[in-house]
């Protein structure tokens, strides 16, 4: 469960190749270097936040102070099968078809 471990005080350089893979984006030759330089530049600005002392401040995840939005456990009409499959790039046996999933 410890996947969001505490961060180091001063973040290191962004590893664009690693992060792009996490995001399932492959970068063309040249793109990686360009993004590396641009993102470092942006992160230099972003690191401005380190000037601020935010201890004791509650993180704000939502713009509205509302809680508890639920729905009753009641069925609502969904999409007919044909409508659900109309946008499918590839279909087989009524299912969305993809290259074989390797486990």
């Amino acid at each position: 469960m410890d996947v969001n471990a505490n961060a180091p005080a001063s973040p290191e350089k962004i590893d664009v190749a690693y992060v792009a893979h996490l995001a399932r984006i492959s970068l063309a030759p040249g793109e990686q270097e360009l993004f590396q330089q641009q993102l470092e530049h942006i992160l230099d600005h972003v690191n401005k936040l380190n000037e601020l002392d935010v201890s004791g401040i509650e993180p704000m995840a939502h713009a509205i102070p509302v809680k508890n939005c639920f729905r009753e456990d009641v069925e609502r009409p969904g999409l007919a099968h044909e409508a659900a499959m109309r946008n499918a790039p590839e279909e087989r046996h009524g299912q969305f078809f993809v290259p074989r999933i390797l486990e």
Binding site: I64, R71, H93, F97, R100
Partner: protein, 472 residues
């Protein structure tokens, strides 16, 4: 060497609809027929929390003695996989609904407490089917409510893990939290196992076995995995932290490619869902509706109905059967007699026909009425069995069946005396046998009276009149 086993049990909740949309939460159906923009991860679609799923998870927490986190929230767990419509799963990361808790398991010679770490709510993924050169994805299951119960590594061997799963299933079925149908994948688990030299040593490196669908399979996988790890350690090899897959048919486990499981889930609070803040009053209201748990019910049924502990144990094990029994017992006021019917004919016919108690045609009212007919000596035992069989097959009113089939017991001395006289005339040989000391001959003569009465004679009365006639 000592093994330590922890489980992550995924339970599909028994709701009408999915976790975050109004599509039916129903097993089966043609592929991609229970879908909508939300569970297909369409652009612009948004989730809304199913209140019933929250209630069922809290009920589970209460049954397992957990602390209910009144303030909790949902998070996004990011990873790409074709069975994940949004390529993130809505789950609960650092503020789950329930924490702490325990479940007592029954071992051969003792009981043991297994600690529960946490219970959280999330959404299930779609189902993949492999067709030759590729895979098909059916999103009917995608987005159905899934409760994850995580235990401490408190189990020492495969038997304890099996006992835990069995006890958990019983309690979840009891409270109607899940259908607990293993064939339909209602309960699946991931198993974490490690080995260490002694109980005092720190826990060894943990190996995860993913996606166990049956308890028997989990038992076999664990037996195999523990031995595998012990062998590795004894050969001086280190156990790598990894995820393995169990092939139940082949009886072997193998390492899963780690590339897809690069664990960087990038959890962050789900911005599309607002925090949940339950009130203690709300939780108390739910707690008041909790069903009695099986062990307590068994004890109470012994007290309330005067039935044997063994019978109470069998009846209490299944909530629907216990509910049925109690209803019939209360209506009839004859708990022991009802219990006898349940333990014998009911169980036998349920097994023989593969029916669930909830679907049987014989109502608790009818069973209570049948017991009353026997108690009033309106029908005798063989006739009652016949009536039970008819009720089980067709339902209806026992009184009516007795009348239609002419099963009313004949208890009129005059009428039976005539039958007795006829039997004595036609079976002189048996009369002599009896007089010469063959006790069994009397039973034969009673049987003959019953036969010519077409089963309607009161056997007690027939016996008395026979004895009177042939002396003793």
């Amino acid at each position: 060497m000592i093994a330590s086993i922890g489980l992550e049990v995924h339970v599909q909740l028994r709701t009408n609809t999915k976790m975050f949309c109004g599509c039916p939460n129903r097993y089966g159906g043609e592929p991609n027929t229970h879908v909508c923009p939300v569970c297909l991860g369409y652009p612009g679609a948004l989730p809304v929390i199913n209140a019933e799923a929250v209630r069922l998870t809290v009920m589970t927490g209460l049954l397992l003695g957990c602390r209910i986190n009144l303030k909790n929230k949902f998070d996004r767990k990011n990873y790409f996989y074709p069975d994940q419509a949004k390529n993130y799963q809505i789950s609960q990361y650092d503020q789950p609904l329930c924490e702490g808790g325990q479940l007592e398991i029954q071992l051969k010679d003792r009981t043991k407490i297994i600690r529960i770490t946490r219970i959280h709510l999330e959404e299930d993924v779609a189902k993949n089917t492999h067709f030759g050169d590729g895979s098909g994805i059916d999103f009917n299951r995608a987005g159905t409510p899934l409760m994850e119960i995580v235990t401490e590594p408190d189990m020492d061997n495969e038997d304890e893990a099996f006992a835990f799963l069995t006890a958990l299933k019983q309690i979840l079925a009891y409270a109607d939290i899940s259908d607990c149908n293993l064939e339909q994948g209602n309960i699946r688990c991931d198993i974490n196992t490690s080995v260490r030299p002694t109980r005092e040593s720190p826990l060894g490196t943990k190996v995860e076995i993913k996606n166990m669908n049956t308890f028997r399979g989990a038992h076999r996988a664990l037996a195999h995995e523990i031995q595998r790890q012990i062998r590795e350690v004894q050969r001086g090899r280190a156990i790598p932290q990894e995820t393995r897959r169990w092939d139940d048919d082949a009886g072997v486990s193998s390492s899963m490619r780690t590339k897809e499981y690069a664990h960087d889930y990038r959890y962050f609070p789900e911005p599309d869902l607002l925090p949940v803040e339950l009130t203690q009053t709300q939780v108390d209201t739910w707690a008041a509706l909790l069903p009695e748990r099986p062990p307590e019910r068994r004890e109470r049924m012994v007290r309330d109905y005067g039935i044997p502990d063994y019978d109470a144990g069998v009846l209490a094990a299944d909530r629907a059967i216990a509910d049925y029994f109690e209803k019939a017992a209360r209506l009839s006021g004859k708990g022991k007699a009802v219990s006898n019917w349940m333990m014998s004919e009911m169980m036998r016919l349920l097994t023989a026909t593969g029916q669930e108690i909830g679907a049987v045609k014989i109502t608790p009212e009818a069973l209570a009425a049948l017991v009353a007919l026997v108690e009033a000596k309106t029908i005798n035992q063989p006739a009652a069995k016949e009536v039970f069989a008819v009720l089980f097959e067709q339902g209806g009113d026992p009184q009516q069946i007795v009348q239609d089939r002419g099963l009313v017991q004949v208890s009129d001395t005059g009428a039976i005396q005539g039958l007795v006289d006829q039997v004595l005339r036609e079976n002189e040989r048996s009369v002599q046998d009896y007089r010469s000391g063959k006790e069994a001959a009397l039973q034969f003569l009673v049987g003959q009276v019953m036969r010519i009465s077409k089963g309607k004679a009161n056997p007690q009365l027939a016996r008395e009149l026979l004895l009177k006639a042939i002396g003793s």
